[in-house]
């Protein structure tokens, strides 16, 4: 019997989700409309237990489920000029920024961390669609460069989870320039011969798809994720016809040769461990969630989510 698989995963996941919401809170699946216990959904990594629909998951929750014992160390990202164009539409850019920071509790649209998955040291970064649609501005560029530099320094693979509406319009041309800029980051990884795995999540569009998200050594997408350059609405307006069902979805891209795999979120961790370990020539990992690595974390800053990060995972035991 594989006790780790059966018992450890639910326990660890529930540590992280239980704290935040009362047990009796309901979540409605935006696909099938089923009312589900919030905890049931978060234990299942925000995948609907009824229809398998993948709902949004924050980088922090994703990392908590990805890394051994939910332990990761956040990598510091240089903060760029806060409002490089003095941009103002109906709102000022800094005001939109503050609202997004307040709503998400995050500094920006990408989180970078180091940690281990199946005892395999990696660097990971994840884009936060809830933060201004995950849009790529100078910060996201800085984050990817910081992640690549960290990976090169530590000789670790980089796993990147993409999710974005595209470039951050409020940073104008400087956001566009993150396309070549992040491409330089990818080149650093390739020159150091380190695996660069991209997990494309819903939605990955525009300049993000047309740069670092399509330059991976391996491309894995979550089921039904929208992945495109031009969005379906823009295309429908241009060609004046209705697009077929499933157009630009993960399975469609898989069929058209743009992806290696489409993998459910609940199986993603195992798959990432397998792929990275094989690419690195390592022996198979012990299956399932592992306790946190020894607290020798020399990295200076532990992740600022104390309840999540500081509690060392207790020795695995049956419920």
């Amino acid at each position: 019997m594989n006790w780790i698989n059966n018992y450890v995963r639910p326990r660890i996941n529930s540590i992280f989700s239980r704290r935040e919401t009362p047990d009796n809170l309901w979540t409605k699946c935006d696909e099938c409309g089923t009312m589900l216990f919030h905890r049931e959904v978060s234990d299942n990594l925000n995948v609907c237990t009824n229809c398998g629909h993948h709902m949004n998951i924050t980088p922090r929750d994703r990392f908590a489920a990805l890394f051994d014992g939910g332990i990761f160390t956040q990598v510091t990202v240089p903060v760029p000029n806060a409002d490089p164009l003095h941009f103002r539409d109906q709102k000022k850019y800094p005001d939109r920024m503050k609202a997004a920071q307040k709503a998400t509790g995050e500094a920006e649209a990408m989180l970078v961390a180091t940690g281990e998955i199946g005892r395999t040291p990696i660097v990971a970064c994840a884009q936060d669609f809830t933060f201004m649609a995950g849009s790529m501005g100078m910060y996201v560029g800085n984050a990817i460069i910081a992640a690549a530099e960290e990976a090169v320094k530590l000789k670790r693979p980089l796993i990147l989870f993409s999710a974005a509406g595209g470039a951050r319009m409020q940073e104008g041309i400087l956001s566009l320039m993150q396309m070549p800029r992040t491409t330089v980051a990818v080149q650093m990884l390739k020159e150091a011969n380190l695996p660069y795995i991209v997990v494309l999540t819903h939605p990955t569009t525009g300049g993000v798809t047309a740069s670092y998200a399509m330059l991976g050594d391996v491309h894995i997408a979550e089921p039904n994720a929208l992945i495109c350059f031009a969005g379906p609405r823009v295309i429908e307006q241009t060609i004046r016809e209705k697009l077929p069902e499933g157009f630009q979805r993960a399975e469609y891209l898989l069929d058209h040769g743009m992806l290696d795999r489409v993998t459910p979120r609940t199986e993603m961790r195992e798959e990432l461990i397998n792929i990275t370990r094989m690419l690195l020539g390592l022996s198979p990992a012990v299956k399932g969630d592992l306790p946190a690595p020894d607290p020798v974390a020399k990295d200076p800053k532990p992740a600022p989510a104390p309840e999540k990060a500081e509690k060392p995972a207790p020795a695995p035991s049956k419920k």
Partner: protein, 320 residues
């Protein structure tokens, strides 16, 4: 006769009237209208200087998109010799929105690549209005690679509303093609110089503008999104394109100030579409200068220079 834009209406009236007076004089040799016509000419010239000396960002978009503005094909004809177009992506098709091939620039062999919009209905359709499909980017990758291997400098001319948002283009991997083209232009060990001659439309432009040296014509624009697109998203009203054009800082002057481009190439009074040859020659001069600037750098230094340039674009911006 130039096609006037809406904002040039008063200018059109004055120039029209001057033309009428001259026509009248030709038909009735006894009437002398030369003084009046000359006065109108002077007035028109002053107005033109006024209009073009203070073009708003939105007006610059209109100038950059003007159908009579010289296009890639015109530059290639005038600035290059022995132009030998090379076609196809060796995979699916030849994309006519992207032209390119071997040529000589001041006698030196180079690879020239650019977007071509077309100049009449037929050629515009054939060129897909300068909106490239994946095959266009893949052709560019091929040509850049070839140039890199044989030590030829790459000269790109950017002029596109954007990559084509079509069904087939998406199916065949528009994103991947653009990403790979940007990657390729960062990899090659020969000089890459680029000029935005009209519209630098978003991701479709960036793959051609990832250069060691990047210049823009005085009234060209280069933006992350079209002002209309930005207005409909952020203002929820596509008619707010003037405000969006302002906010996006997409003019050559803005981009120079933001450190994204290296130089602005002045246009003849009234825009490149009024004096195409002068504009083309000015671009030729700028290309020669940019190439000279990179002379003597070896492959490693050139790649490093390009990288550094883009890595530095993480801390730019106007002073708070």
């Amino acid at each position: 006769m130039t096609q006037y834009m809406d904002f040039e209406k008063p200018l059109a009236e004055i120039e029209g009237k001057a033309e009428e007076l001259r026509a009248m004089a030709r038909n009735n040799p006894e009437t002398d209208t030369s003084a009046e016509a000359a006065a109108l000419d002077a007035k028109g010239k002053a107005m033109m200087q006024d209009l073009y000396g203070s073009l708003t960002p939105w007006r610059k978009c209109l100038v950059a998109r003007h159908p009579e503005r010289p296009h890639c094909i015109d530059y290639v004809k005038r600035l290059f010799t022995d132009y030998t177009p090379l076609a196809g992506d060796r995979n699916f098709a030849d994309d006519h929105a992207v032209m390119g091939g071997l040529a000589r620039f001041n006698d030196t062999p180079v690879m020239v690549i650019g977007h071509e919009k077309g100049n009449d209905t037929k050629s515009r359709i054939e060129r897909n209005f300068g909106m490239a499909r994946p095959e266009g980017y893949r052709k560019a990758i091929r040509l850049m690679d070839l140039a890199g291997r044989f030590g030829l400098p790459v000269i790109t001319l950017v002029d596109t509303p954007g990559a084509y948002p079509g069904k087939g283009a998406e199916e065949r991997g528009q994103s991947e093609a653009i990403a790979r083209a940007t990657e390729k232009s960062l990899q090659i060990g020969t000089p890459v110089v680029s000029v935005v001659i009209g519209e630098g439309g978003s991701g479709g432009a960036v793959a051609f503008a990832t250069a060691n040296r990047l210049a823009m014509l005085e009234h060209a624009v280069y933006s992350v999104i079209s002002p209309e697109g930005c207005a409909s998203i952020l203002w929820k009203d596509a008619e707010k394109m003037r405000e969006a054009a302002e906010a996006l800082r997409l003019t050559a002057q803005d981009l120079k100030q933001l450190g994204v481009i290296d130089q602005i190439i002045p246009e003849p009074m009234g825009g490149a579409h009024r004096h195409a040859q002068d504009a083309i020659d000015a671009v030729g001069k700028a290309i020669a200068e940019m190439l000279k600037d990179l002379k003597g750098m070896d492959a490693k230094a050139l790649i490093q220079d390009r990288r550094r340039k883009f890595l530095d674009l993480g801390s730019k911006g106007l002073a708070a």
